[in-house]
């Protein structure tokens, strides 16, 4: 039984996915790393970026954190403010 998560896309991430929000289907109680892996499988262009981070509930998330249903998730490509 897969768990579905919607994920916000900003900057070049929106260009890659073609949408401001995407939905990924992951195993139950997935880790951030599972999300990254699935994202790269569906959108190999993420592998061409300098790097990308995942934000969980508006904070940078470690690969080992477990995603809960209802978490606010976002793809954070390399930032360039200032």
């Amino acid at each position: 039984m897969k768990q579905s998560h919607s994920i916000l896309c900003f900057g070049i991430a929106r260009d890659i996915t073609g949408s401001a929000t995407i939905t990924l289907h992951l195993r139950p109680r997935p880790k951030v790393l599972d999300l990254r892996t699935e994202l790269l499988a569906q959108y190999p262009a993420f592998g061409e970026l300098v790097s990308f981070a995942i934000a969980r509930n508006e904070a940078y998330a470690d690969d080992e954190e477990t995603l809960e249903p209802g978490d606010t998730l976002a793809i954070i490509p390399p930032v360039s403010g200032g």
């Binding site: 916000l8 900003f10 900057g11 070049i12 260009d15 061409e48 970026l49 300098v50 934000a55 508006e58 904070a59 940078y60 976002a74 954070i76 490509p77 390399p78 930032v79 360039s80 403010g81 200032g82």
Partner: protein, 138 residues
Amino acid sequence: MSEIQLSPHPLSIDACYASVQDPTCGGICLFVGTIRNHNKGKSVTHLNFESYAPMAEKEMKRIADEAKSQHGLHAVSLHHRTGELAIGDIAVIIAVSSHHRAAAFAGCEQVIDELKKHVPIWKKEFLEDGSYWVGARP
């Protein structure tokens, strides 16, 4: 005290200065970042800043608070613009007040360095022949 603004409206140096000024402090250091007309030899016509606003505001607040406590500052103000900007427009203003001058310089430099590393804001540069997200690709 630390104060942050993420705003689609033009930024004011005087407003940022006023928010940290205090009669107990003798020195204020400011950093003003503006839009350059070139980047890596290419001619920039204008640009657009996109942000993940709620997270950007949290990161800005965290960075300002950390600089304040690490350097013993009196106050930190951090304003960042969003949306479309033209050459010469102000993208970011940081103002830091402190009893000690060296701490004001060190704290202000830390805030801009950390902002450029961590705050989820993305700059798209428009050239005469196209556009690209700055720093996204090697």
